[in-house]
């Protein structure tokens, strides 16, 4: 799995991360892939087949969209037993995202930490100058 640049935010019980990108698409992609990076460690690539899953989410604002996006990825990952190593964002604005999540069998990975959900607690998704930045706390 590629190294994903994110910083940890200290939280007593859960895991918080800060992500930055020059585009909203980049922000959503990095955050989505971070889920696998946080919860799983790559093991033997025994199960090679890649699976593509279409993910579409809408919301009334960008923060809600961000949480819906992450929780949809977590949910689909659990149901399909896939770790999403790559994400292709097809269309995105602050209210809608259309993407393809590309995953491989979860049996290729060693367990790290189970992420239950992304939360709204202290959530920040905003653009500072040219940079999009998000801070999110996951319940683990």
């Amino acid at each position: 799995m590629r190294k994903i640049p994110y910083q940890f935010i200290e939280h007593t019980a859960d895991i918080g991360i800060r992500i930055k990108s020059f585009s909203l698409a980049g922000l959503f992609k990095k955050a989505g892939i971070a889920i696998s990076g946080l919860s799983l460690q790559r093991g033997n690539q025994k199960y090679r087949e890649k699976h593509k899953i279409i993910i579409r989410q809408k919301a009334s604002n960008v923060e809600e969209l961000f949480i819906n996006w992450l929780n949809e990825l977590l949910s689909v990952s659990a149901v399909e037993s896939l770790a999403f190593e790559n994400i292709q964002i097809n269309r995105i604005n602050e209210y809608f995202v259309d993407a393809i999540a590309i995953g491989s069998d979860i049996r290729n990975y060693k367990i790290n930490t189970e992420i239950k959900a992304a939360t709204y607690h202290q959530l920040k998704v905003k653009k500072n100058g040219l940079i999009w930045q998000a801070e999110v706390i996951f319940d683990v």
Binding site: N112, T119, Y120, V140
Partner: protein, 486 residues
Amino acid sequence: MKEISGIPLDKIDDYRWSIPRSYKPGMRVPGLIYADEKLLKDIYQDKAMEQVANVAFLPGIVNNSLAMPDIHWGYGFPIGGVAATDIEEEGVISPGGVGFDINCGVRLLKTDLEYDDVKDKIKDLIYRLFSDIPSGVGSEGCIKVSPEEEREILLKGARWAVEKGFGTDDDLEYTEENGAMPGADPQAVSERAMQRGKTQSGTLGSGNHFLEVQIIDQLYDQEACKVLGLNLGQVMVEIHSGSRGLGYQVCEDYSRSMAASLAKYNISVPDRQLACAPLTSVEAKAYLSAMKCAANYAWCNRQCLMHLTRQVFEKIFGSSWQELGMFLIYDVAHNIAKIEKHKVGGKEKNLCVHRKGATRAFGPNHPVLPEKYKKIGQPVIIPGDMGRNSYLLAGTEKAMQETFGSACHGAGRLKSRTAAARSIKPDILLKELESKGIIVKASGRNTLVEEAPSVYKDVNDVVDVMHNAGISKRVCRMRPIGTVKG
């Protein structure tokens, strides 16, 4: 009055501290924190006290926004928080006040074995428990269910497992709610949640979930121990797990719908994770029906886990679980919301009691308790960390008066997972635990480090506050000899 991190605190006595309503405009009731001076120093290191004040904004909240001594920073609600809302006073229910792991809880079973019977077999026992009980991220259970059976689980809870032969009616007698809350409606549970739950019955999960073999090392209440059949040196088993992916999805689904309820019902809360709806609303009724389904799933899960545990003991010790005396002491939920009757200002009220990292702790003679426990009060199981102790407590009348019959749920986290990863080496930790006679088998090295004893408060300090404040009383203490971590 003292002020900590900008939050004013009134000292009521050595174990009670109040955050006055004047701290934040919008607080409907004061905050009430159970802690001594020592624990208070830990509590103010994170944002838990701020969250106690935030919970006091919930419409219909009565008496106090409560915090148990194991309180720590959560998301929305603090972990270790209790809040009761009055249905007749536009009281609300908040999925965040229950959490993603709905009916995360713990059960304690006794055995007739003593330390000498297990000391030479503990490694085999723990390794066999680890191999036979699925744990960790994405683990699938050996108990496979059809969609129709899954719906039955949501309605019947632990009874479904008993009907399959995974236990007895006595197990249900000694489970909170007898292992199933009435009023569960599978129609309120999304297809996605059903899919997430399909393969996870009888799985431990990861994170702080565990299965532990323990020895009773201290008796405090001889009368209660006699009723429960507990003695010094007796081998006990504690199981901590919840509703797995099904519960996470139910919370996620309804957190989405409740976010819209805030505007619809003109509710203002300082943290969106406190999203809620009036208990009389369609949104609240649907959530409660779905939450009960997830709670029932969790009770079924812990029943299945106990069944698998009994089977492993049978293999290792060559006797039936009945011959080994492996009977359930009690099973308690510690992430749940329930409609309960409590006295407020001398009048009996129907309240929605949210326990987010808190355990029901009903006092003696409460009508819902099993006959056998009416005299001593409800057993309250308090797991500690894997290197120190766990406790069995009993609920008190004082808890009924002050905390809506609630107590703490564990030791409470002290350090973050990232801080743990920076400072603790898994191999050294394992050796330290082994030198104390504790065998640990974990699915992941990260889990092991993140759950190290030093990241938790000392459960002995936490229980001291509960006992001395009169919220629950000590019955006996256990020490671990082997732990399976998810």
